[in-house]
Symmetry: C2
Subunit: 289 residues, 2 copies
């Protein structure tokens, strides 16, 4: 079965990212940290989504590479900062940045990546830069909601606001910026923003469900947020909890696919549909579907 | 004697900043933190410099307000993160953000402010956004150099690289973006970038000298960087150390003023000259000049 790293768009991003980090000036510890972070891989889902949205809107795959890297860099920055604030020790299979280089260097590395991302997005015009900044604000707000989500007052509604900001927003921006890169109109950007948000939300719910099911091994965070399964579990049994959570995943996935279906058939549309499944429903263990 | 907060440009920034924070959506802890940070005041030097540079280049004072706020917000973000990483407990006379709200919330508040700044700068075009991103990268690099500056290998040359990145870069970007806002050409932006960098470097050297002289009361950081006076003191006595450090301040101030002198005489030019003195030589105790 095709995986994300089989896509040309994935290879395009991976090479561009490696080139950029290797060509960096070596004056501070920064390059070493970035090489460590890049060595840990990552699926490059968001930047790949951006490139595919550009293609689906009639643009060229290479036009959006810098914007795609900007998205990947602000994502990496948020992971580095999240690991600092929730004490995560392992990230993508390697030691987290703050564990290896210390908290101060890790905070600054995140700040550097956000700023590098600003430079990278600067050439794509007002709409793209603004979309990018807005996503960054939402991510920080969502994470702030997340870290204070420790009591029974945190309900389904709060959860969805939290994940839409924390996770959905950057997927949303990736897809919308992909549209802007291709010169699409604002209605198209709006549709793709909604597509991205639905995919991102589904992705987060799956992640939370897998954690609930103890399926995630690569996470040694000392912090625990209130997630959708935990909210459901307050008032229903385990099986029903899983069933209702999966239902929510399916709703988001369906929303996303309905939006894709409103675009003319194309290779890039097929790939976006493929990715949507790969990072959501395909992640779930077969026995719960 | 006129102070920075007597200037119309200062009042313009102060009001715009207050308006922006008060009009924020209240969904997370973010607004509360921002109100706390704004309550602590600050001299708004960098945004005032931006507005004055716009005016000196023939632009209108209100055109650059959002860009000026962007500069102030990324500056606030860097202060919040710096306080986290060096354990600073007091900032501008009030409790530091991480002391009051915890390290996780403070890190996220900084990230939020950087992203808010991206949205604010997004309308000023490619050059301004790129300048802004570059400054952010330099600030993070400079701070990274600073926190690793703990041994005898840290020389005068390293110090100047460090402060140019850590402090000079944002003053430089403020002045250059001020030029861009007025639609000035790239040569004018280049000159003003150099003006800003010199002012910023002088400001930092003065700050380090005052710390050396134990004049700064409002700083209870647990961290100590290698500063210019400490580097000089390795090889000369106290008096000579002070004299040589002041000399470096005067060189930067002279460079800055020479650049200003190449612009036609104007109110805004006079104000830029005033600010240059106010935040550098005027800060030094009379007996060492």
């Amino acid at each position: 079965m095709i995986q994300i790293d089989d896509l040309d768009e994935y290879q395009l991003i991976k090479m561009a990212k490696d080139d950029m980090v290797h060509s960096m000036d070596d004056s501070s510890q920064m390059k070493k940290m970035l090489l460590h972070i890049c060595s840990s891989g990552g699926k490059n889902i968001r930047p790949v989504m951006l490139i595919l949205c550009t293609e689906m809107c009639g643009g060229n795959s290479t036009e959006g590479v810098k914007a795609a890297l900007a998205i990947e860099f602000i994502h990496s920055a948020s992971l580095i900062h999240d690991d600092v604030l929730d004490g995560g020790l392992v990230r993508r299979g390697v030691e987290s940045a703050h564990k290896k280089y210390g908290i101060p260097a890790a905070i600054l590395c995140g700040d550097f990546l956000i700023s590098k991302a600003i430079s990278l997005i600067s050439g794509y015009g007002n709409d793209a830069v603004n979309e990018f900044g807005r996503a960054g604000m939402y991510m920080a707000e969502g994470e702030t909601i997340d870290i204070s989500s420790v009591d029974d007052e945190f309900k389904e509604k709060n959860y969805f606001e939290c994940i839409s900001k924390k996770t959905g927003s950057l997927f949303a921006a990736s897809a919308a910026i992909g549209a802007y890169v291709a010169g699409a109109d604002s209605e198209t950007a709006r549709k793709l923003r909604s597509f991205g948000e639905n995919v991102g939300n589904a992705y987060q719910i799956v992640d939370d469900l897998l954690e609930y099911l103890n399926e995630l091994e690569d996470k040694s965070s000392t912090y625990e947020s209130v997630t959708l399964p935990l909210i459901y579990r307050r008032v229903m049994d385990h099986d029903k909890t899983v069933e209702k959570t999966v239902e929510q995943v399916c709703i988001c996935v369906k929303n996303a696919k309905d939006i894709l279906a409103s675009f003319p058939s194309s290779d890039s549309r097929d790939k976006l549909e493929l990715i949507t499944d790969l990072i959501t429903v395909d992640m779930l263990p077969a026995d719960i579907l």
